[in-house]
Amino acid sequence: MLAQGFAIGISGWEFTTLESIFGPMDERQYGLGYGALFVSASFLFALTQGIAARGAVNGDVFVVSAIGLVVAVVAAFVFFPVLQILTSALRDNEGVYSLAVFLTKFSSHKIWGLGCLSVNVSCGAAWNSLFLAALVGAGTTFLGLAFALVATRSGWKYRRLLRALTVLPIITPPFVIGLAIILLFGLSGVITTFFADLLGVTPTRWVYGLPGILIAQMLAYTPIAFLVLIGVVEGISPSMEEAAQTLRADNWKTFTTVSLPLMRPGLANAFLLGFIESMADFGNPLVLGGNFDVLSTEIFFAIVGAQNDQGMAAVLAIVLLSFTLSAFFLQRKWLGRKTYTTVTGKGDSGVPAILPRRVRYPVFSITLGWTAMTLVIYFMILFGGFVEIWGLDHTLTFKHYITAFSISFTEEGILWTGSAWNSFWTTITIAMTAAPLTAMVGLLTAYLLVRQVFTGKQVFEFGTMLSFAIPGTVIGVSYIIAFNVPPFELTGTAVILVICFVFRNMPVGVRAGIAAMSQLDKSLDEASLTLGANSWYTLRKVVLPLLRPAIIAALVYSFVRAMTAISAVIFLVSAEHNMATAYIIGRVENNDYGLAIAYSTVLIFVMLTAVVTFQLVVGERKLGRRVERGQAESVIKQGEPA
């Protein structure tokens, strides 16, 4: 493709003009095929050749082409669908544009109703979502801070083990916590029945609704806040605190007047992350929601329910999108300027201050309590898959595993007879296809952002990070709306799933790349350039080899995220290409908890293996570069599609 682009590039100018004349014609065609993809790619690179020839970015053809490529794909698969949502919200069911319809739908009682404040009816989904997200944001930040303080400032012997918790949200499909909560607190849950028997009251469905979702999301997202805040707490230079102490401040004063204020931006960051995650969460509200409607599930029901109202879904998606985008904006605008991280290149040999006693004890008890609860939850997940029927018959059984994952050996070979195999292999294949693509697009973008200077770079950066703030449900709906009709007819194919994962997870790759690349001195690139290498050669021979750990990280995480995703996927799966998570949700809706839990356990172990392997490989780094190189290569090969 690239070669073709360059071949045409010799007469690049004519093609560029041609494209501007004939380009719009594409819109009238039926679905674009590979030929069209090929042609438009050629046009794109011909265009970038032309721009480079005019002297943009020092006339560097590779860089201009790369920028063009990233802009084109982000425009096609992030901005185009979102735009489609905006327009479709303005249309009624017959496809006629109408502002009135939009306004009616927008001001619907279901979204903005405030009935719950006075009477005993449920509030609008928007208020529910906001309220829930704020609670989850505050809760996870508080718990995350407690964990971070214990992990970094307590001197507790086993504090390193706490870090293992940060792996959990990465490997856990989002709704699994919700399932475990049902097993514990549901109508026939262990704890519910225990207390019901003890107090002699009838078990209730109290956990369905706000309490259940809140607990599930706090459990799911506290590790994320923890991960963010570890960095923040460690980033505070001990010499700041030592300075305060030499100025006669005691531990408590130092903590309240120096340490905490320095953490403030980090705390706000953790809060906003928790807020966005909660808003975007689909799995837990779906499983535990009851009558408590939130935006993400309402979008789903607007499409799959009896109403099948795409316009309504679009309106809800816009409301949800505006909430998450505001939080995202706030995070970037406000926090971008105020980073108090005091880590410098200079050696800082100070010792962090010990926590004051009145902080230490509460923090310890909270952390231990919450850790215990997390362990119980994960034990339930493990245990739940081996039980006949939860709440009624607690006999241990392999029944669910056999149903899902049975294998028969016949003369023709192995027969994958279990009901879950189909979706399992689809998931693995799609995740493995998406992972290298995600890593490629992500790292290329990171390279352009960190290493190149060009006009419109800020807009470019914002655009590429935007998909982080778009909730999965919104992506799902927008992909259905955008790619169901020509020129892109992709719904129901595996391609749309792969594309969806690549652009959902792209920010992960970009972040990993940016973090790693910022550590590489720019003079390395410049040295290579002054030695006569072009930027493509430099990227291959200097930058990429030094980025190996980041590449592996991007591969593993995009693989894992593709396996655990549910919110966008549930709109895009088809009978032919079913994903594991969608299959599990289907089982849950049929109250087949045993199978769902068993399948989830298998997923968790598959991903745990992937993550642990990765950790081991990167951990080897200190032993010597030679050894690491060989291993890194073998891992990358495993990550590639068969």
């Binding site: 002297g55 020092n58 006339g59 560097d60 001195d521 003079s523 390395l524 410049e526 040295a527 290579s528 350039l529 002054t530 030695l531 006569g532 290498a533 072009n534 930027s535 050669y537 021979k541 200097v542 080899p545 030094l546 570069r625 190189r629």
Partner: protein, 355 residues
């Protein structure tokens, strides 16, 4: 030794570099560097010297003006396509390649076959005294050795111009002296054109054929080390290179290219530099004073305020009619006590009228 020189001239014609539409890093700078010369860009931080160097390298592109290397106009040419190599402040050795691979990198890029590139790299390492270190990783070498690898890597390409960006700033004081002498030696032996950036005036005086002193995005003065030290054109250069006493004096008469100047009661005959009779400023080097404790007519009368014994010389701070004077006296056998009144005469070098 198979490494030779392709030394070429470097010429700037009214070159400017403007960042973000408003920040002027280099303003209408013109100069010409002769082939085979070592020229230093000297100045305080933020004066535009590094930007100038990066524009020679092609890492930054000139906003206006023209840049020539040899006979070629390279203004629009990116770094990759210029026949220039650079030694970075941080050395920028590729940490994942061995020393040999680092040195051969540029040769491989330009399409030389592996074994030939290996031989040339070995030659380069020999030139900087690191024969046999080719299989080491940069992280296994000391700072001074890394620095030499960086020099070898730049040298083996036989560039038209070799650039150094503050190459000694990461070395300790002793090593700095040694490495700068080695750089100078290689440059003279091979006859390379070298452009060297530093903010250390002593280093600049020690290594350069010519020095371009930069200030506020422009050139303050250009000349040989001796010219700059003994005849600084302006206050900035006088103050930046070495120590200078700047005092007010009177130009009594102009006699062709010469001016008769009266500093206090002391007379001096200095290049007039197109100045008119009247009040003027004079820069006097601390060692251009001659002091004696007897009262001599035609000298400046002063009182000793401070005297510091430094082994090789004595530093005096004097209070005189023309203001405070800082004097370096090499004669340590006849110290003058604090509070005593002395006569100060002017020697016939290291004094200049400045703007």
């Amino acid at each position: 030794m198979s490494i030779k020189s392709n030394a070429a001239t470097v010429a700037f014609e009214n070159v400017s570099k403007i960042y973000g539409g408003s920040v002027v890093a280099v303003d209408e700078v013109s100069f010409k560097i002769e082939a085979g010369m070592l020229v230093t860009l000297l100045g305080p931080s933020g004066c535009g010297k590094t930007t100038t160097l990066r524009m020679i390298a092609g890492l930054d592109m000139a906003t206006n003006g023209r840049i020539h290397i040899g006979d070629e106009d390279v203004t629009k040419l990116p770094a990759t396509d210029r026949d220039v190599s650079m030694v970075f402040q941080s050395y920028a050795l590729f940490p994942h390649m061995t020393v040999g691979e680092n040195v051969a990198y540029g040769l491989n890029v330009s399409g030389m076959n592996k074994s030939e590139a290996g031989d040339r790299a070995e030659d380069g390492l020999k030139l900087v005294g690191l024969t046999g270190y080719g299989d080491r990783l940069p992280s296994e070498m000391s700072g001074g050795q890394q620095q030499r690898v960086a020099v070898a890597r730049a040298l083996v390409l036989e560039p038209q111009v070799l650039l150094f960006d503050e190459p000694l700033s990461n070395l300790d004081a002793k090593l700095r002296r040694q490495v700068r002498e080695e750089i100078r030696e290689i440059q003279t032996n091979l006859g390379l054109t070298v452009v060297y950036v530093t903010h250390d005036q002593e280093e600049a005086l020690a290594v350069s054929d010519r020095i371009i002193v930069m200030k506020n995005a422009g050139i303050a003065q250009e000349g040989t080390p001796r010219e700059l030290y003994e005849e600084p054109a302006n206050l900035f250069v006088a103050d930046f290179i070495g120590d200078a006493n700047v005092v007010t004096a009177e130009i009594r008469s102009i006699d062709g290219d010469w001016a008769n100047v009266l500093v206090g009661n002391a007379e001096a005959r200095l290049p007039s530099r197109g100045m008119k009779p009247g009040k003027a400023q004079v820069a006097i080097r601390p060692e251009s004073f001659q002091i004696s404790d007897s009262n001599i007519p035609g000298s400046i009368e002063a009182e000793v305020v401070k005297a510091t014994y430094l082994g090789s010389h004595i530093e005096y701070t004097l209070d005189s009619a023309v203001g405070e004077l800082f004097v370096v006296e090499p004669d340590i056998s006849n110290p003058v006590g604090i509070g005593s009144t002395i006569s100060v005469r002017l020697r016939d070098h290291g004094i200049a009228l400045v703007e």
